[in-house]
Symmetry: C2
Subunit: 420 residues, 2 copies
């Protein structure tokens, strides 16, 4: 089915909260094989809500609303839906009893206005409220449906399955829609587009589409979306397109879907049962923090030294290089981190975050060092942007260089022996 | 003005990314005194984008679009806006030259399709691209405006001021509108609302309004917005309301507007010409990274030890405490960091990020240690949420505790002498 999401709440229009429900609903709808061509956000205003519902029903087979089901006077989604469906609101005694029970359980007196949440458009299917006091609703409007879930995210999430079940019962044959995201690092969006352009053309007229998602420090994602009658066929199509794209993009692809650079590094490191330590200058702990963010990091991550002051590099890490923004410093920091913290693999960052130059080097000049045992090397990268962007990209560049080096990629570092 | 936000991107409709730009734009529009009655999200589809622009212009004085300004085949916002405005797209040589310069600086060849980003609807005002290759656009359509910013959040954020300036020039609203944000940490939103409720009532009917912005790790913001005939009067009103709110909230207010906890700590530290070092376990470098993010940190930040593996705590920091999730460990880590890294002030975090318990303590159990010279103490906090949330809140709690302790607040730590 084609579904329109209507988010209701003045706080959304004022930007006081982020609309996470819209994303949740969109994601669940897509994975259930539904398509979405439109999302509308309106305030707690009867005319606006009615307009959005009518536009949604005119353009889609179903509408899902989120928000406006609370007990207060500005929660008017029920009234708007009933008006669009052309049916009266009727008190559902089972819903009312459930609300009373919730307040009894909480040992709190129940305000009279909570009974508003027991009002249900005639003919609507009620989705029982388990997490809050507002029930969900599925309201038939002619040949179409309006489903309503609360604005509170965990209340909404609790009802999505039942909404999708109602949609499936209404339209049993949506087919299967599935997508897969290839995660890349190291290619600009336009260069990536150039490389993939032939696939865009080849896929023209097929149910398979490609899209780029530039997500900054997450790198650029290439999303494959396809549609078919059965899950196996759809999966086979995704597998085939992934193989084709990997053949084009090589190891610029570091993973798929939920993979992150740090998770990929974690897999490579645990694969060789190694332990990692880091030494950071300009990134100042950000590299360690991303590694620690991987659950189970304690199995392979020893720790790090944030050698922000040059003296720390010399005193704690035993760096002898005079210039700290240098290949020699990066190599010695990587070796020093592994030695001081008792790790097999050492990773180091040193460079100029800005705003001021350092040792005559402009902001964005970064050296990344990698040591495995006594073998080590470093590479310089030049990064654009302000202080935070330089630091963030330096961390991602370091993670990617470690990955490529551990994978033995020609784009990785070739390490050289350094005497202990 | 009444402004409609149009978010463009199939990835939004598929729920693959959260629409943070829509919130950013809505928040900035509201602070600038504009109203928003509608937000529409559509895919990378010409007909859908044209429909959304037309609906927006029909219902508002201006439309802001975000997304679809990239160089690739599916970035078609420029074409749709030109179609709605009824003007041709023309290549802007200054924009083209800037894009070429960006690629030159990066030492990368410029793909032909990047010239698509130099296409500008005739008569449009160009907002120079500083963070990416896509310029912003402000396109007059009859008596109304369409403004376009990129979908990449930091590129969009960089252009908001110029969009708002264009709106102000288009519709110079009577009088002056100004707002100030009080930054708080340590109070829940509902408790804060309780405390501030009397001010809401007192301000009823005046041109001054209060709003809460709960922004997670940034703490809860209280925004004062007021309107008046002259800048001085408006500033005086903001000053008076700030004083009133500070009297109510005390040192739960850590700063105003762009202040962050790390900047406030940086000011307090430089004020006493001290140097800081950190020792981190569960936060794994995140605390150091936030301190390093302050420009000029090299003047007062020495560095840190990420003692993720317990052995590092004992070997590198000289911690004697057996249990690492303990008051004694936090105190010894803070003292150890200052000693090993040659600092006057040491700050330490140790605890359980989860998902698994540690030393019998549940996830969210965190000890924060602070040492000034040989005087030190620690405090336990219990944090809710997943691994990343616990780590992030532990860092903010540590920064806040350092701030309160350095300010001599009764809510800070009372340090005790520890023999060297």
């Amino acid at each position: 089915m084609d579904v329109c999401i209507v988010s209701i709440g003045t706080e959304l229009l004022l930007g006081q909260i982020t609309d996470t429900n819209a994303r949740l609903l969109a994601e669940r709808l897509a994975s259930a094989g539904h398509t979405s061509r439109l999302r509308v956000t309106v305030g707690d205003n009867h005319a606006q809500i009615v307009w959005a519902l009518a536009e949604g029903l005119a353009r889609a087979d179903a509408v899902i609303t989120t928000g406006g089901l609370g007990p207060t006077q500005d929660d008017i989604t029920r009234e708007a839906v009933a008006a669009v469906a052309g049916v009266p609101l009727e008190r559902d005694e089972r819903v009312a009893a459930r609300i009373e029970a919730i307040f009894r359980d909480r040992g709190r007196p129940m305000p009279e206005n909570n009974y508003r949440q027991a009002l249900v458009p005639r003919g609507a299917q009620v989705i029982e409220q388990r997490k809050g006091t507002a029930p969900g609703l599925v309201v038939p409007v002619g040949s179409k449906l309006i489903a309503c879930v609360p604005g509170v995210p965990y209340e909404a999430e609790d009802m999505v399955d039942e909404v999708l079940a109602a949609f499936a019962a209404h339209d049993p044959s949506p087919g299967v829609l599935a997508s897969r995201v290839l995660r890349t690092w190291g290619l600009g969006e336009s260069r990536l587009a150039e490389l993939v352009a032939p696939r865009f053309d080849a896929l023209w007229g097929t149910p398979t589409t490609l899209a780029f998602l530039a997500s900054g420090i997450e790198g650029i994602k290439v999303r494959i979306t396809t549609r078919g009658s059965d899950p196996d066929g759809v999966r086979a199509t995704l597998d085939a397109e992934e193989r084709t794209l990997r053949a084009i993009l090589g190891d610029y692809v570091f993973g798929v879907d939920d993979d992150s650079l740090e998770r990929v590094v974690a897999r490579a490191v645990t694969g060789r049962q190694a332990r990692v330590a880091v030494a950071e200058s300009l990134t100042g702990g950000m590299l360690a923090s991303r590694l620690v963010s991987v659950p189970g990091a304690s199995a392979w991550f020893r720790g790090g030294v944030v050698a922000y002051d040059s003296a720390i590099k010399h005193e704690v890490l035993g760096v002898r290089a005079e210039r700290v923004v240098s290949e020699a410093a990066a190599v010695e920091m990587a070796l020093g981190a592994a030695r001081v913290l008792g790790a097999d693999i050492g990773v180091a960052t040193t460079g100029v975050a800005g705003p001021d130059p350092l040792e005559g080097e402009p902001p964005g000049t970064v050296w990344i060092g990698v040591a495995i045992g006594q073998r080590a090397a470093a590479r310089q990268v030049r990064l654009l942007g302000d202080r935070e962007r330089v630091r963030t990209y330096a961390v991602a560049s370091a993670l990617d260089l470690v990955r490529l080096t551990l994978e033995g990629s020609p784009r990785g570092l070739s390490l050289e022996e350094h005497s202990a």
